[in-house]
Structures are given as structure tokens and as C-alpha cells.
């Protein structure tokens, strides 16, 4: 699945990384607990989170994740956006909840990665 498909499925707003929307994403992980993300995700993945702080971007950076989706309409601050731009990570924000977002992506064929 491409990042722009995720944007469309979740009717998400692009916060940064518009130039990377044609990246391929192989798996998804939904979590507010970054240690769980570090423990379980292995493939080129998108991270869905209700947590909004710089460590979400840093966790994605360590895991080579292509894209972060903030759920429930949450908006990162400028420091988080600047960090994501520097690390070339796409940031999206959707009004959907975590549960609904994961379900919508799963329904369209995206899986958990393990």
C-alpha cells in the first residue's frame, strides 16, 4: 500500500512529507507505547499513534518507518514537525480513532507485520 492510499482511506491531513506520498508501506503498527513498537515491528511500516511527542518520530526513525499517522485529530507541535522533516518521515493526522483507523487499513489489505 502506498502512503497516499493511507491518506485517502483515513481522510487524513498531510502535516509534512508531501513529496514522499508514493512510498510503499508493507505493514502497520498501532501503539501509544514506543517500547512495543521497538519490540515488534520489523517491516517497512506505518506507525499509528495517539501519542504526540518527539519520541514518536525518533522511534519511527530507529525503525525505518516511512510514515506516522496521528489519530483522533491530534496535531504535533513545530519541534516534532521539524524533526520529522529532517528525518524525511511523512506525518499525517486523521480524525478517526485508533481502533477505526486500524480497522479501515486492515480492511484494505494492510497487515500487522508479524
Amino acid at each position: 500500500m502506498k502512503v497516499y492510499e493511507i491518506k485517502e482511506i483515513l481522510d487524513a491531513e498531510i502535516i509534512c512529507g508531501e513529496e514522499f506520498l508514493d512510498r510503499e508501506v508493507c505493514a502497520a503498527c498501532g501503539s501509544d507505547m514506543m517500547s512495543d513498537v521497538l519490540a515488534y515491528v520489523k517491516e517497512q511500516a506505518v506507525l499509528l499513534s495517539g501519542l504526540v511527542n518527539p519520541q514518536v518520530v525518533r522511534t519511527a526513525e530507529m525503525m525505518d518507518m516511512q510514515c506516522i499517522v496521528f489519530v483522533r485529530g491530534k496535531q504535533p507541535d513545530q519541534g516534532i514537525i521539524d524533526l520529522a522533516k529532517d528525518r524525511e518521515i511523512v506525518l499525517l493526522s486523521t480524525k478517526e480513532t485508533m481502533f477505526a483507523s486500524c480497522g479501515m487499513l486492515y480492511e484494505k489489505g494492510l497487515r500487522g507485520g508479524r
Binding site: M33, S35, L38, N53, P54, Q55, R58, T59, E61, M62
Partner: protein, 141 residues
């Protein structure tokens, strides 16, 4: 072969937003040196968890990284409170992190188990009231 690179980082203890700077820097260095994605990932996940621990538990510390073609060796040293029972601290889910750390996405008692999972060698020397030194090795494959 035989050449090695050493890196040194000072991790401040009071700035959670910067936790991960050292791990990101090591990651970029390993990628630039051509290490396999698998090796890079193992090193940076373990190092990132350990760096977070320095900030959460120890009031900061220092990280030394030695990179050779065969192995990445990391030493993390702090002058924090020490770990009274290392075996207990290694159990998944055991945590002494305060609630504000959980709200930041860490502190679920997965840090040390994650470090063990992703490294080939892990050794902890800790003395209560003096500090903790952790030795990590990841072999390149």
C-alpha cells in the same frame, strides 16, 4: 580490516525531547559505513532503549561506541541510583519508571528485555548509589 571508529556522546538527563539524538547519530554513521540494515536496526533499537533509560532513570550519562567491521561495542555509563536487583529489572513488564514517563510512551518494563533481545552480548554492572555501566555488543552479519 582492523580499523575501528570510536564515538562519544554525552546524554543530558533533563531533556526528554533530545533523548535519541545519540542513537540517531550512530544509526546514520553505521548506514554510511555500509552495515547491513539488520545489524543497524539491532544496534539502534538497543541503543535507543538504553539512551532513554539514561534520561529516565539516571539523570543522563555517557555513551561510548566502538565500530569495527566485525562488531559494534557500546558502553553506557551513568552515575544514577543504580539497579538493586538486575535480574528483576530484566523481567518483561517490571518497571520503576514514574507515571509521567509512561505518558511519553516508555516505562512499560520493556527497555532492558528489548536491549537483550536485540544484542548478542549484554552485561550490566550496577552499584546502588554509585551508578550503572552497561556493556553491549552486536556482531555484524
Amino acid at each position: 580490516m582492523g580499523n575501528s571508529i570510536t564515538l562519544h556522546y554525552v546524554v543530558p538527563g533533563d531533556d526528554f525531547t533530545r533523548a535519541g539524538e545519540a542513537s540517531g547519530s550512530v544509526k546514520r554513521t553505521l548506514k554510511d559505513l555500509g552495515f547491513s540494515p539488520e545489524t543497524v536496526r539491532k544496534v539502534v533499537i538497543a541503543l535507543y532503549e538504553a539512551e532513554i533509560n539514561l534520561v529516565i532513570h539516571a539523570g543522563g550519562g555517557e555513551i561510548d561506541v566502538e565500530i569495527s567491521p566485525e562488531v559494534v561495542s557500546i558502553v553506557l555509563a551513568d552515575k544514577g541510583p543504580g539497579i538493586p536487583d538486575v535480574e528483576l529489572a530484566m523481567q518483561e513488564g517490571y518497571s520503576t519508571a514514574p507515571d509521567n514517563v509512561r505518558s511519553l510512551g516508555f516505562g512499560a518494563g520493556m527497555g532492558l528485555p528489548n536491549i537483550k533481545k536485540y544484542t548478542d552480548e549484554m552485561k550490566i554492572d550496577s552499584t546502588v548509589g554509585v551508578g550503572t555501566t552497561m556493556y553491549l555488543k552486536v556482531y555484524n552479519n
